[in-house]
Symmetry: C2
Subunit: 151 residues, 2 copies
């Protein structure tokens, strides 16, 4: 049984259970970096733009591994370095992230252009299929640009 | 400009901005209670099953109002009592919640039956349209059942 034991959970509601795992300000950003930005090392995540503290990052990486959302693989060139990768359960979060992206861009001032967001919203299935293809083929070309500060 | 000032934000990425507002274990549960369970008072949320502490609940309600995701209306019968209601920006979170529900139910042990979840996943558009209709018409019939403890 993956994740926290049932007895520690607040309820049997799937939204509540998902938030027991993902309900903080950082976990979904690490998942975003892995999913659409092609980042994969501790250093990559640290330099990803939001300024996560290294102790918080280390904690979240362990929790995401315990929840079987990500796994750590030894780097081929340097076996002491870990490359993180989403599991099947992790890539299955793509629709959650996409809907959060669309909602954030439509309802808050962000660095995403309206044209890009409406294109993503109109082509949800294709965007999700492409995210999954890149994950399957270990293609780390960024899918979504880095966004500048909100204009 | 709704929400936190840009300068306080971690980045211009819409996912990051959304998590600045919603990235905790409780906010999306309050939104769930309003959206699909027909709950609307402080007491309703307190008794909703996950056991939120009243100071945390009060804090989240204020933050969600500041972000213009919910608003408080005086109760018709008892003007001192507030009924909370989602705004347009709040009901627009329905796809985020639905995807989180589907992910949680498929990948963790929860109280949701597989049959219900696959039905919701197959009829996403209809489910979202129905959630919006209930919101527009102030129809507080629960849309999704309370889930028992995970089996």
């Amino acid at each position: 049984m993956p994740g926290e034991p049932i007895s520690k959970r607040r309820s049997g509601c799937p939204v509540s259970v998902a938030l027991d795992i993902l309900g903080d300000r950082w976990s979904l950003l690490i998942i975003r970096d892995l999913m659409v930005r092609g980042l994969k090392t501790f250093k990559d995540f640290q330099e990803s733009g939001e300024g996560i503290a290294s102790n918080v990052l280390a904690d979240r990486l362990l929790k995401l591994q315990a929840a079987e959302i990500i796994l750590a693989e030894a780097d081929e060139a340097d076996g002491r370095r870990a490359n993180y990768r989403l599991t099947e359960k992790g890539i299955a979060l793509a629709p959650v992230l996409l809907e959060m992206l669309i909602w954030g861009a439509r309802h808050e001032q962000t660095g995403a252009s309206c044209a890009l967001i409406e294109k993503l919203a109109k082509n949800r299935d294709a965007v999700l299929a492409e995210a999954r293809r890149r994950w399957e083929q270990r293609d780390s070309t960024p899918l979504i640009p880095m966004f500048d500060e909100g204009k």
